[in-house]
Structure formats: structure tokens, C-alpha cells
């Protein structure tokens, strides 16, 4: 197995893994919109009307990113967008931590206020950072197996990068 093959295999795993993350988190949020509203509101960042829109849109943004990654369409762009969304999530959790709020991130459903001793900010940020690593990898090396991009021969960009000798 060449180095290129290993890199493509890792990328494929990351793509499908990140797809699963988005699909599961999006589904859990979409299926309980009231709880999602409470979770977004608990961050205490956005004004009321905006909370409503963000809480309504976010689950479906996540589902869309998950579906695109699953089929491998526009992997690089989707990975970049995933990274941006994850950075926003990390920033949101970090500001809650810094301000001393006591909330659950609601990353995979749930969310809202929790007792002061029940916060899990370091774990939540670490987990999102892990997902961010996967997104960054795919943004740099979007070529993967089982992707629509590969069939179109364009989307993954630099289709030859794995094959050019060094």
C-alpha cells in the first residue's frame, strides 16, 4: 500500500465519520425543535428572534453537511463549511465557559441550563476539536473513495496529487 493510498483511506474514513457526526447531531436536534431552541438560547449570545431562526436552521444545516459528506459531493467546500461551523460551536462553548454559564452544549440533542457542577466544557471542546481536525484534513485532502466527486472527476481537486511521485 502506497503512502497515497493510506492518505486516501484516512480521508475516506474521516469523510464518512464526519458525515455520521453531522447526520446524528442534526437528526437529534431536528427531532426536538423545542429543546434545540432552549439549547441555543442557553448560550445567551443571540437576541430572541435570532435564537429562533438559528435553532430552526442549525439542525438542517448539519443534516445537509452530513448528506453532502456522505455522498462525497463538493467534499472540499463541505469540509471547509463544516470547519467554519465547528469553529463557531467551539467559540460558543468557550464563551459560555469563560463567562461562567452553567449549560450543556446541546451538541447531540439536549442542552440548556445545568447545575454548576455538571458542566463538561473541556470534553465538549475537545470533542469538537477532534471533529475539526477531520474537517481540516478533508479540506486539505478532499480526495476519497466512494465519492461523487471522484465520478465527476472534478470536485475533489488535484486528482493527481496522490499519484505524482516525489
Amino acid at each position: 500500500m502506497t503512502k497515497g493510498t493510506v492518505l486516501v483511506a484516512v480521508g475516506t474514513l474521516f469523510r464518512l465519520g464526519l458525515a455520521a457526526v453531522w447526520l446524528v447531531s442534526g437528526w437529534l436536534k431536528a427531532s426536538d425543535p423545542n429543546q434545540t431552541f432552549i439549547a441555543v438560547q442557553a448560550y445567551d449570545v443571540l437576541p430572541g428572534g435570532v435564537v429562533s431562526v438559528v435553532a430552526g436552521a442549525m439542525p438542517f444545516l448539519e443534516l445537509a453537511l452530513g448528506a453532502l459528506l456522505l455522498v462525497g459531493l463538493g467534499t472540499r467546500l463541505t469540509a471547509v463549511l463544516s470547519g467554519v461551523v465547528l469553529l463557531v460551536f467551539i467559540a460558543a462553548v468557550a464563551q459560555s465557559w469563560a463567562r461562567g454559564l452553567s449549560i450543556d452544549c446541546g451538541c447531540f440533542g439536549g442542552g440548556g441550563q445545568v447545575a454548576a457542577g455538571d458542566t463538561r466544557y473541556p470534553q465538549e471542546i475537545a470533542r469538537d476539536t477532534g471533529f475539526l481536525v477531520m474537517a481540516v484534513w478533508l479540506a486539505i485532502r478532499p480526495r476519497t473513495w466512494l465519492a461523487v466527486d471522484g465520478r465527476l472527476g472534478g470536485g475533489a481537486a488535484e486528482p493527481v496529487s496522490g499519484k505524482v511521485g516525489t
Binding site: 431552541f37 444545516l61 472527476g153
Partner: protein, 266 residues
Amino acid sequence: MGGAERSARKRRQGERVGGKPNPVTAARKSTGSRKQALIGVAVVAVIAIAVVVGVIYTNSRKDATSDGQIAAQSISLDVPARRDGAAVLVGRDSAKVTIDVYEDFLCPACGAFEKTYAGAVEQKLDAGEIKVRYHMINLLNERSDPAGYSTDSANAALLAADEGKFLAFHKSLFASQPQEGARGWSKDQLIALGKLLGITAPSFADGVNAGKYDKDIDAAYATAKSDESLWQQVGSQKGFATPTVAVNNKVIETADPNWLTNATTG
């Protein structure tokens, strides 16, 4: 060879052959970038459609209370109910035991409490064994979408007390309790409930619209929240929560099904 160097060489190869543009690779490159652009458009379209459809769908699920009205519940209990600041004292003067109930009309646990114990409480009120002081708490005021239902409903219930309709108003709101995180009942719908229950005074509608008792409700909540004698175990620490039930100023545990009997015999 480094990646930057390699792509620089590729670019040179692609653009020029012997100083002239290479027609073959130039064509291939433009097809590639057109594909890229199309894929980009497809990605953005998928996301945009998902989000727009999702928001519309979510709002339709969350706005269940936007149509229709709060069903009026009748109540046969006939005991005095007097507003006292942001609370309403219900029951006969002769009753020896006073139970303080702190409730938010949006709080699901309060709804469950009412569902389970309202009948027994009404019996004890009717028998003259207890008085109940209902405190209108707006703890969850930010938890309706749009925010404000806790305060609006508390204010309307206090105004209903002024009109002698507190018990039926209170019962009706808990019987048609909106979900936390969803749309509550609007001021107009609260006013309509008052009319259904026979409130004719225009001061009721004016008071609901103006938020007549909002400040009293805020102040009473702040007082209750900072009163450590009312705190309960919330998660891993102690704090104020709804519902809180206190018998003769001592918080009791309503998970015990005999709490009411114990309150009147102990």
C-alpha cells in the same frame, strides 16, 4: 519535491508550451474549473434548500398554539381568592394550614404537579382545611419562542384574580399548557380566555396588554429566588426551582404522594 513547487511547475506546464498557451491543458483546466463551480453551486443549493425547508417545517411544528384558543375550564370550587401582590391567596380564612405554591405557567413539572394534585388540593380548599397562596413565577420567561409567555400568563392570572376568576383561569392555563421552547399563548389569546370565563371589564384586557403586574412578578421572583429556605436540590446543587411547595413556610417534597395528607394532619 514540495507541493508548492510541484503545483508551480504544473501551472507553468498548463499555461505555456514553449512560450505559448497550451490549448489542450488550457481547455481541460477550464472544464475542471467549470465543474468545480457547478459542484460549488450544488453544495450551496443543497444547504440553502435544507435550511429553508427545515426552518419552515420547524416553525410549523412549534407554532401549534397560533391557531385556536385556550379552552376554558370550569371549576365548581367556591372559595375566596384574593390577589396579594404577585400571589393569590385562595381559601377560607378559617383554614389553619397555609400552603405556598410557586409555579410558572410554562413549567412542565408544574403542569404535572397540577395534573396530579389539583383535585386533592381543591377538595382540601373546599373543606376549609387549607389555604393556598399561589405565587406567579416567571422563571421560564425566556423559554417560550417568542419569549415572554411566563410573565404574560402570570400577569393575566393576577388580573383574572382581580376579576374574581383566578381559579378557573389558573386551571385553564395548566390544562392547555404550551410546550417549553415552543410558542406560548399570546396576550390576545389570554384576553380571549378571560372573556370565555366571563370577564367583561376592559381593565382586564388593558392590564394584560400593558403588563400591569410585570414588575411585581419580577420582584417577587427575585425575592423567592434568593430565599434559601425555598431552595431544593437541583442537579448537584441547591437552588430555587418550580414548582416549589411550602407548608407553613417549610419546603416539602411533592414526590411523596401523601404530602397533602401529611400537611393537614401533621
